[in-house]
Symmetry: C2
Subunit: 405 residues, 2 copies
């Protein structure tokens, strides 16, 4: 009963926090004139820049739809309408050129392209938004948008990347960057929900993504690297030694989702032990608490200025990962780890005065940036974490209830 109480206390606080966080975004971020969302929001929600970052537009549409569709108290007309307006903004403005599916990275308030990245990520969040909009509205056009873009992304990644516009350079050998198979695995998870045709279509892509992610387990299974060669070997220099504990942990829970889908307990075990527990142990700051942003596996100082800062999103990934990991293994140590991160985030990141979380703390845990949203922080990691944790805790509590009856 002690543990069940603990799960219930967690769920209660997390549910309340999800309401507060979503209240922040619905109050401050919607652009009622042009559609889409402002994400450059100060501590109190005031808009300090009107640029629209496409990653964050796609993520916010996804978040609104997902909550509308899955959580009864968010099944609210105004949430759906904002999501649709955001989706229509993306369809109208995300792609600067009519002859290409390449999306911008950032556009003006009224949708004019400011910058294009030569990567696949704007497009991936476009797929997430469109697929979730389809599931929420049942309008086929959104499904068509999602599928068309997904085919394009897979083509860029697995057949021919020239459409991304990156020059081929003799010193830049192809790299298996973990972000790419992670993102694809996450999209496979998204597209295949209750959809047998999609599950058939994307099954091989899912397996390929898992295989590519597992190549990042290096040094005899003792470290996760962000970058390896295309055939899974360690790369020279900083790039090869680069570690991102939060990202490894996120990969861990993506793998766990795949393990659940396929009842693959071997994969589940690797996900928990190697992608979740290992980076958490090496990435947790023993002195001040919190997860380091970046590390060098051999203990060199990373060259990224923020390496020792504590960012919000790795902590949200850890909360999800520990609960999913517990669901898979029932290992109580994972609940202890969850508690550790939970205590840290509620005392350091959460802002009880204005809602939402601060995103950027110093190593010591002081707020370094007071912004609540910016070019890379929007309505996504915090509410996704809270929504998923609420859902998993509910399931865990139900399971315990069933057992004790």
């Amino acid at each position: 009963m002690g543990e069940e109480n603990r799960l219930q206390r967690w769920r209660e606080r997390i549910s309340t926090e999800l309401d507060t966080v979503m209240g922040f975004w619905t109050r401050h971020s919607e652009d009622k004139e042009y559609g889409g969302f402002f994400t450059c929001l100060g501590r109190d929600g005031a808009v300090y820049d009107q640029l629209k970052y496409i990653w964050l537009q796609g993520r916010q549409v996804w978040m609104y739809c997902r909550l509308y569709r899955k959580v009864p108290r968010f099944h609210r007309e105004e949430l759906l309408n904002s999501a649709i307006a955001g989706g229509e903004f993306l369809i109208a403005h995300a792609r600067p050129s009519s002859d290409s599916l390449k999306c911008a990275f950032v556009v003006t308030r009224d949708g004019k392209a400011v910058k294009i990245q030569r990567t696949i990520f704007s497009e991936c969040f476009y797929v997430m938004a469109m697929d979730e909009l389809w599931r929420t509205t049942h309008k086929e056009k959104y499904k068509r948008e999602a599928r068309k873009m997904m085919d394009q992304i897979v083509h860029w990644v697995r057949v021919d990347s020239s459409g991304l516009g990156r020059p081929e350079l003799p010193g830049a050998e192809p790299v298996n960057s973990m972000a790419v198979p992670m993102m694809l695995l996450n999209l496979v998870d998204q597209l295949c929900e209750d959809d047998e045709e999609a599950a058939m279509k994307y099954s091989e892509l899912g397996s390929w993504s898992v295989e590519k992610i597992l190549q990042h387990l290096q040094r005899d299974g003792q470290a996760i690297f962000e970058n390896v060669s295309e055939d899974g070997q360690e790369l020279p220099g900083c790039m090869g030694r680069h570690q991102n504990p939060g990202h490894a942990i996120e990969a861990g829970w993506f793998l766990l989702r795949q393990a659940f889908t396929n009842a693959d307990h071997n994969l589940g075990k690797i996900a928990v032990e190697k992608f979740i527990r290992l980076p958490f142990e090496s990435g947790w700051d023993q002195e001040y608490g919190g997860l380091f942003s970046f590390q060098d596996v051999d203990g060199h100082c990373p060259t990224q200025l923020e390496w020792s800062m504590k960012l919000w999103w790795p902590h949200t990934e850890a909360l999800i990962a520990f609960l999913l990991g517990y669901m898979e293994t029932k290992d109580p140590r994972l609940l202890g780890d969850f508690q550790k991160v939970y205590d840290y985030v509620f005392s350091k990141f959460s802002d009880p005065e204005h809602g939402e979380w601060f995103g950027y703390l110093t190593q010591e845990g002081k707020v370094a940036l007071t912004i609540k949203g910016g070019p890379f922080k929007g309505c996504f990691h915090v509410p996704r974490c809270l929504y998923m944790c609420e859902e998993i805790l509910t399931k865990l509590i139900e399971d315990k209830g069933a057992k004790t009856q």
Copy 2:
């Protein structure tokens, strides 16, 4: 006499520091096999990555030649030989394509291009290296390299930027980014030393660069902005409000050099009051000391994660700027400001144990990155500052001596 003593004490310590700093680079950074320099050096000088960043290759060649040419105790064969090997490395490997002068941003140890930036800065440091090599060796081929590249840069900036490879996007209006005219003014200063033909050729470019820099003085002369419109108007959003105190102060001393050349005391006054004193007062951290890296003119929190960190290079620019400013105005407040920065750098950045300076401190002044060199820090800002301060202090001491005789 009190003041002269102070100038002498400063010069003595600065000379010793210059020797220590240069010892660090000559001991640790030279690649004797391929030519050029390793710049990714840990606290003790150990190479942690072999990539070669072209900005830093060009800057180190420039620094070695300049010291060899101007400072008798550095007139050493091995310094010249390393500079020539670095220059030859640049000529052989900086340009990945034989049909373009576009330079890489970073190459492998043996010179294969890894990444190309769509800006002019690699090319600018190439010019600095080649011009200084010519002045040091008197070999015409280096002068030809410098001039050819300079013409190309001016063409990209003032005639047609399409060769840089940036896409034209409807939401990205042309911006007058202060870095561009600053860099050009610095190159004009470099190319015109004791060269009347060059002075004629580049005189108009110098005036144009000054005019473009002065457009960054905004808000009724109360703030320096990093970015303004092409016609000198304030831009919307974060980009428009963005301030970089160290960069403004560096622009200040570039303007002062131009003011000396043309005996333009009005420009000298603007340089000191608006580009040096103003950003120093608003950019100095009253609580912990040191210059903030970035600020928002309206007091919003910047979105750059390192905004409150203290970086080495703004402080080196300030030291140069205060001494040059004092040379121009004889305003004793500038020596007080110099003392403040001098005390800060010697207590916080300088590493008495292994030599050279740390580059990156937290807001509170704690070393955040222990590296001595990396992708953006090489053998340049610290020795350039120490060399220039030594030279200016010598001149000031001589002037005082002459007066009291």
